[in-house]
């Protein structure tokens, strides 16, 4: 009986712990966003975060998108041929890229690249007293460190995903026209005629949410890291893992909101 109670208590503690953590992260994010309405805004730091996500992540996101589009065209061609529906390859590629794979894969790549870097940078600043030093120099660390990064994630990811969408479709187009023998002009026409504004917009909204989540997790775990190098390492791991899981969870929630009938 006591073992059963212990198990129930452990589950209860875990649930309360998760609720507490969710609340802390939500308050942290709201605090960070609230500084957008209160000057000063640190434009240079925002620009740096924006470029980190939107420009310096381009190579890794571009490669991911191109190969994903290529694989998608190959897989869908073989799969759809079972139903004599090979002509739907272009439709499937563009729909998958704009609605799902563009934002999700770009989000995961940025989580690994930028989210980890944010957590490591803020974590190092925490354990070397740089965040305390900011406070003693009349600077709010949330406003200086967190707000520009949250805004950068929110605004840069959609632009990155536009590029990912285009390159993903291009990857599919190359495979379809070069390897699978599709008529290039027809493939492009199918793509353009099939894709709708809602498909692209829903993907870009997802991208903005994922960018915010990546920055939020990187900042939260870095800002609250403790215990020297080991703590910074742990913060980096938590930032990437939690951002990746949240991207997939929010992807479902947003898809449900946009497309559930």
């Amino acid at each position: 009986m006591s073992k059963l109670l212990d198990a129930v208590a452990a589950v209860g503690r875990a649930v309360f712990g998760a609720c507490r953590l969710t609340g802390r992260i939500a308050l942290f994010g709201l605090d960070g966003l609230s500084h957008l309405a209160r000057p000063p805004l640190y434009g240079r730091l925002f620009l740096r975060a924006f470029l980190d996500i939107g420009y310096y992540s381009l190579p890794v996101v571009a490669l991911t998108a191109i190969f994903t589009g290529m694989v998608l065209a190959l897989q869908s061609a073989t799969g759809l041929s079972r139903f004599n529906a090979e002509s739907a390859v272009a439709n499937l590629v563009v729909l998958s890229m704009t609605r799902e794979l563009g934002p999700v894969l770009a989000g995961l790549m940025v989580a690994g690249r930028v989210g980890a870097a944010m957590a490591a940078e803020l974590g190092t600043m925490r354990v070397t007293d740089q965040i305390d030093a900011l406070q003693t120099l009349s600077t709010n660390p949330m406003k200086y460190l967190v707000t520009p990064r949250l805004l950068g994630g929110l605004l840069a990811m959609p632009l990155l995903v536009v590029v990912a969408d285009v390159l993903g479709v291009l990857g599919g187009y190359v495979i379809a026209s070069v390897k699978l023998g599709y008529n290039a002009e027809v493939y492009l026409t199918n793509t353009i005629n099939f894709v709708q504004t809602d498909d692209v917009v829903s993907g870009l909204v997802k991208a903005a949410v994922f960018g915010f989540l990546v920055a939020l997790m990187g900042c939260y775990h870095g800002y609250n890291s403790r215990g020297g190098a080991q703590g910074v390492g742990a913060a980096t791991t938590y930032a990437v893992v939690s951002a990746s899981v949240l991207i997939l969870a929010f992807d479902y929630v947003l898809t449900e909101l946009f497309f559930a009938r």
Binding site: E121, T124, M125, T128, D129, Q130, D132, A133, L134, Q135, T136, L137, S138, T139
Partner: protein, 261 residues
Amino acid sequence: MNDAPPVVPKIRIRGLCKAFGDKVVLDGIDLDVTPRTSMVVIGGSGTGKSVLLKCVLGLLEPDAGSIEIDGRDVLRMERAEAEAVRARIGMLFQNGALFDSLPVWENVAFGLLAQHKVAKGEARGRAEEVLAQVGLGPSVGALWPAELSGGMQKRVALARAIAAQPDILFFDEPTTGLDPIMGAVIDNLIVDCVKRLGSTAVAITHDMASARRIGDRVAMINKGRIVWEGSATALMDSGNEVVDQFTHGRHQGPIQMELRR
């Protein structure tokens, strides 16, 4: 007969308590610091010296007690008012805590810009003036913190602390990690800066030579309380067995007895 009015302490701490979970770090600290004097707080590692400074700086919230600066309790002020009072405090962190993403001159000018004490265009020139006061040439301003030696980092951190000409200066272990000669150089710089600015200084250290060089008065903290306070000249012959053991580095004595239990 002396009709001079009693001097209001620059900093007056009463009954300051701070615990982390079950661990009581500060257990009713009482301390007065007279204007334009230097108070050195000594004590072993983990006795709460840094926690005391962080409470005064607002980096930690005490559990009980009062902290008066110029006769006004900062713990009971409105947040903005307390921040304004604390903006008059300069802090030299133990490891320098220089912002490694900014060049030296921007580190030094950081507080000046945050407090709008200097226009952006004049910041670099002002930073170089302050660097000169700590014995560093203008070329150092263009370097990055990682390019500096430990002694130079401490000088830059000192320059950053004094740049806004604060009323109060805090020094957390100013000579830790430095060789004895560089330690003496930093101590002399600290004494010069405090005199030149007419500031009130509080330093924490466990370096006895440094304590005697910097301090007008010395207080010893042990088990979360001030156990002795007197002039720096009386430090080595205090008549207090805890202080005597600490200052002479004896194996035998009440501090070691406590550790053995």
